[in-house]
């Protein structure tokens, strides 16, 4: 039982790191970025390739798994994404789907269809005994790292000046701009960090989901959307809560009721919609 809970929390934490970037772009720029999963995929591939081809130790690949998608995000944001900030939701959807559909075959072409595995270093593999229950070390590691990230984000948002500017821009971009806040720069940085975190999440999640393969973005698209939906406009803590809930329900569901376990997240989606009839993305929706 404890193992399941821990697995669920670990998975939920991963989802949080993976999806928080999506919540931010949604809440901040009202922008629907369906290609978000592609950045996660890139991060996962970076780690897998660095480890498998260059023999780089797992921990050292993680900064790269963050930076590469982050840089990619900045480049794409400056060149392509920013043209579409005022575009209709349909345009944003079509465009980001296009990006995703381009990214996946490129990955397949360059790296093949087979999932790239991330082999955990020995010290992360294995279990520890905790009150007679076996607990995976990697799970603990994941919870620790993601928890630290969540805490860091929260502190950053609340305590730093940039964080305050970000929150102001989320609240009302025009007013923020009128106050002299460089909203453009904030968007770019937020997008980069969000993409970077997605990449980091992808790297961390690689072991849990059985490797990174080209279909990763579309497989997890609904999950990311649901996380962004549940947590969405409630800030970091809201997103964290949503992810944890989803993670635990998903893992528990698959364990206890394996025949319908995969459908748990869809059930969550439906229930959330029923419970919150005004819609989920109270900020990011175009009508």
């Amino acid at each position: 039982m404890l193992t399941i809970l821990l697995d669920g929390v670990a998975y939920g934490m991963l989802l949080f790191v993976l999806a928080c970037g999506l919540s931010v772009t949604l809440g901040l720029m009202n922008f629907i970025n369906l290609a978000h999963g592609a950045f996660a995929m890139v991060g996962g591939y970076v780690t897998a390739l660095l480890m498998n081809r260059e023999g780089v130790p797992f921990l050292l690949t993680l900064p790269a798994a963050f930076l590469v998608p982050a840089i990619l995000g900045v480049v794409l944001e400056r060149t392509l994404y920013r043209r579409l900030y005022g575009a209709s939701p349909l345009d944003q959807v079509l465009f980001t789907i296009g990006l995703m559909l381009v990214a996946m075959p490129v990955a397949a072409y360059l790296l093949g269809d087979e999932p790239q595995q991330v082999h955990l270093p020995a010290w992360l593999d294995g279990r520890v005994e905790f009150h007679g229950v076996g607990v995976g070390i990697y799970r603990l590691f994941t919870i620790g790292v993601c928890g630290a990230i969540a805490a860091a984000l929260q502190i950053f948002l609340i305590k730093t000046r940039f964080g305050a500017q970000l929150r102001a821009a989320v609240d009302d971009a025009r007013v923020a701009q009128g106050l002299g806040i460089d909203v453009d720069r904030i968007f770019a940085i937020a997008f980069a960090v969000g993409s970077g975190l997605a990449g980091l999440g992808g790297a961390l999640a690689a072991d849990v989901v059985g490797g990174i393969d080209p279909s990763f973005p579309v497989k997890f698209l609904v999950t990311f959307l649901i996380v962004a939906a549940i947590g969405g406009s409630n800030g970091i803590m809201g997103a964290l809560f949503g992810s944890l809930m989803l993670g635990v329900l998903d893992v528990a569901g698959k364990y206890y009721v394996p025949s319908i376990g995969a459908f748990i997240i869809y059930a969550v989606m439906v229930v959330t919609l029923i419970v919150r009839p005004q819609g989920l993305f109270t900020r990011g929706e175009g009508r």
Partner: protein
């Protein structure tokens, strides 16, 4: 108000309203041309059939996207449902195609009816998520229930003769094309009528200005559920046709890229005109065959690229040429000009 002035106004008004509904000769020509093609190119019956079915699928998306302004990322859900329903029915011995067609459409319509209320909540993003979620969920379900659906292998079956007389399998390719044509035509006429009815007008109003539509007392919720159900039925019919004329239903019908494909077809051809989906489908399939002869596996890449370019170049400008073509055939239900 002087009497002659009033009479002139009435005449002009009546003419204006009538013009929207009249069947114009280029439209008749359009349909006759397709029919002629089926007879003139018997060796191409297979691809013509594919275009007709894709056109029906695109038409079904047009009903929700073009008419009602609802964005869907999972329209393939209904395609798959229709296909598998017809396939399962046939493999259980009820092999009359028309029966499978009706059953497929009905099952899809039911699914549409049940999921539509979820679309009413929130805005575009919620709709995207829900539609995507439903299609992936159904795909997963079809995968699981492999005793019913054949799982990853798909469901092979043999189809009976249409109306008991006309084979539509590989021995009757032209019959298959004619079958699809007939279904498409009938459903198109109904859709056309629907678009020009007060109901269709109300949908246009909901799409164009939801605030004002509410202020006129239009019950947007019910109308949206209704059109979504109809669109689901149409997509289900397309799925049934696809399964019946190829004698196989496979899991990829629920795939995300099917939903993306049909969206692209509709966008290429212009949404909202009803004919746009048909033209877009034809263009899409022809282009696909040309390009995949060169690069077979990475078709997804080109679709993605097309979408990116399409959006960046501006959908309006890219669709200008097909739109002019369509305007020749039939004016949009809601748009006036010099016509």
């Amino acid at each position: 108000m002087n009497a002659p002035g009033a009479a002139a106004t009435m005449d002009r008004l009546a003419a204006h309203l009538r013009r929207r509904a009249r069947w114009r000769w280029p439209e008749t020509l359009f349909w006759l041309a397709i029919l002629t093609l089926i007879f003139a190119l018997p060796s191409r019956a297979g691809i013509i059939n594919e275009v007709l079915i894709a056109g029906l699928f695109a038409l079904s998306l047009d009903l929700i996207l073009g008419l009602a302004g609802i964005v869907s990322l999972g329209h393939a859900a209904f395609l798959g449902l229709g296909a598998y329903s017809a396939a399962i029915l046939a493999s259980k011995g009820l092999a009359e195609p028309m029966l499978g067609l009706a059953f497929g459409a009905a099952v899809a319509a039911l699914a549409g009816l049940m999921t539509a209320p979820l679309l009413l909540r929130g805005g575009d993003l919620t709709r995207l998520m829900v539609t995507l979620g439903v299609s992936l969920m159904l795909g997963e379900l079809a995968n699981r229930l492999d005793w019913l659906t054949g799982g990853a292998d798909g469901l092979n079956f043999s189809i009976g003769k249409l109306l008991g007389r006309f084979p539509i399998d590989f021995t009757g390719q032209r019959n298959a094309a004619l079958y699809s044509f007939a279904v498409l035509f009938v459903l198109f006429v109904i859709a056309r009528r629907l678009a020009r009815s007060p109901f269709g007008l109300a949908l246009a109003a909901i799409r164009e200005n939801r605030l004002r539509a509410d202020a006129l007392g239009i019950g947007a919720g019910r109308r949206i559920v209704a059109i979504y159900t109809v669109a689901a039925a149409y997509a289900g019919a397309a799925g049934a046709l696809l399964a019946e004329t190829t004698q196989i239903a496979s899991l990829d019908l629920f795939d995300f890229h099917r939903s993306a494909d049909v969206m692209l077809m509709l966008i290429i051809g212009s949404a909202g005109y009803l004919y746009g989906g048909l033209i877009g489908a034809a263009a899409f399939i022809v282009l696909r065959d040309v390009i995949s002869a060169a690069t077979p596996e990475y078709w997804e890449f080109w679709i993605g690229l097309a979408l990116i370019i399409l959006v960046l170049a501006g959908r309006e400008r890219v669709a200008a040429a097909p739109r002019r073509l369509i305007a020749l055939i039939a004016p949009r239900a809601a748009e006036r000009g010099a016509a």
